[in-house]
């Protein structure tokens, strides 16, 4: 099986950001994204998802290195300081490179 190298950027952040973040992501060139609901803990304390205000989401974006960098930089600049947010990058292989 031939796979092509791409990046998987995962953003874990506050559920309140879902709307704006999705718009940002698309504007910056991502062709798609996947969202799951999550809870967790980080420097901003426990976010236990008992109600909207304490819920997290986990956004995954498959894209090329460049788009990943841009989205990550954008998030860093616009959201890092004021929101609970964690980002990480993983190398992945995809089968249909043209899609991402």
């Amino acid at each position: 099986m031939v796979t092509h190298a791409r990046k998987l950027l995962t953003i874990i952040t506050e559920a309140a950001l879902e709307g704006v973040l999705v718009r940002d992501i698309e504007r910056l060139g991502a062709h798609g994204y996947t969202i799951t609901d999550a809870r967790g803990k980080g420097r901003r304390g426990v976010r236990s998802a008992g109600w909207d205000a304490s819920s997290n989401i986990r956004i995954e974006i498959l894209c090329d290195q460049e788009t990943a960098s841009e989205i990550a930089a954008h998030c860093r600049k616009k959201y890092y300081d004021n929101y609970a947010m964690t980002l990480f990058l993983v190398d992945v292989g995809v089968m249909r490179p043209e899609k991402f």
């Binding site: 309140a16 008992g50 109600w51 909207d52 205000a53 304490s54 004021n82």
Partner: protein, 314 residues
């Protein structure tokens, strides 16, 4: 006699403080709030259908003014006295200028238990009070900057879940009228107090979660979380009396003024004033003021209203 819905609140609070694993699933909490918001809206709308809207205009304007005023009072107290950052002060002020639907619902039950009538269009005033404080909070934090995307802000404020459901319920009740709504009463009215009981169970759990941060932010916040609603209640009661509301209605306006938002405002502030620390305002509104109002405030504000009416004359 203590109302069982208060006991549900205490049960949730107690269980969570003892670190029981009891929690209501978040979607159930969501569902219960949807039902409550619609119920309150429907009730108000039915009443609106019975009276000319024009007659309410003065009240609406006066209450709107109060909604603009209260956060303007709270802000300097927080910023100067409390030494909170500008954004934080603005955000907390917005929470206290707006209203809490949960507190309102408890008050409805409280007055209902005692057969104290109040003007049925109060849900309309509740809706009216939701909004101005949010706008004031944003302006206090940002100034009238041209960069503010007011379109977005308006969208955020008026199309938030809470307001859409309240206004939607109002409109439905208004259009359908009492007979129309009769068929959905078993869900929205007969179950109201039961739904409220479960809602308060979860509110107790959520309140307990704020206790940790309470310790962190200290005495000033605690004082503010009690003094501010007392002050607002007096403003609301006086306004209610001036507007010629009944004793029940006067108490209700005091309670609305005293209550602090923990649904619409946090969501709007998170997006529009991101640099404000949400823990701070939730600790105050949910960790201090909500339990204070529910356990102590409501009877107190009602006593204020009785006093006002007997002192100044009905």
């Amino acid at each position: 006699m203590i109302d069982p819905i208060i006991l549900f609140f205490l049960l949730g609070l107690g269980a969570a403080l003892l670190r029981s694993e009891l929690r209501l699933p978040a979607v159930i909490y969501d569902f219960l709030s949807i039902v409550l918001l619609l119920s309150i809206g429907l009730k108000g709308g039915i009443e609106l259908s019975k009276q000319p809207f024009g007659a309410l205009l003065p009240q609406i304007l006066a209450v709107t003014a109060m909604g603009f005023l209260l956060p303007l009072v709270a802000f300097p107290v927080l910023h100067r006295l409390g030494r909170f950052k500008r954004a934080d002060s603005a955000s907390i002020a917005a929470h206290y200028g707006s209203v809490s639907v949960g507190t309102y619902a408890v008050a409805v039950a409280y007055l209902g238990n005692r057969n104290i009538a109040f003007e049925e269009h109060l849900p309309l005033l509740l809706v009216v009070l939701e909004v101005p404080a949010i706008l004031v909070g944003i302006v206090l934090a940002r100034g009238f900057s041209r960069q503010m995307r007011w379109g977005e802000v308006t969208h955020e404020v008026f199309l938030g879940k809470g307001i859409v459901l309240l206004i939607g319920g109002l409109l439905i009740g208004w259009i359908a009228g009492p007979q129309g709504v009769a068929s959905i009463e078993p869900l929205f009215f007969d179950l109201f107090k039961g739904v409220l009981a479960l809602f308060l169970l979860e509110m107790g759990i959520l309140t307990a979660a704020q206790v940790g941060s309470l310790r962190k932010y200290g005495l000033f916040l605690l004082g503010f979380g009690i003094a501010m609603p007392l002050f607002s209640a007096v403003v609301g009661v006086v306004l209610g009396w001036l507007l010629g509301l009944s004793v029940g209605g006067t108490a209700m306006l005091g309670i609305l003024a005293a209550s602090a938002s923990y649904i619409a405002v946090p969501a709007a502030m998170r997006i529009s004033v991101p640099e404000a620390n949400p823990t701070l305002s939730l600790t105050a509104a949910l960790g201090i003021t909500f339990p204070f109002n529910v356990l102590v405030g409501i009877p107190l504000y009602y006593a204020f209203a009785v006093q006002a009416h007997s002192f100044f004359g009905g």
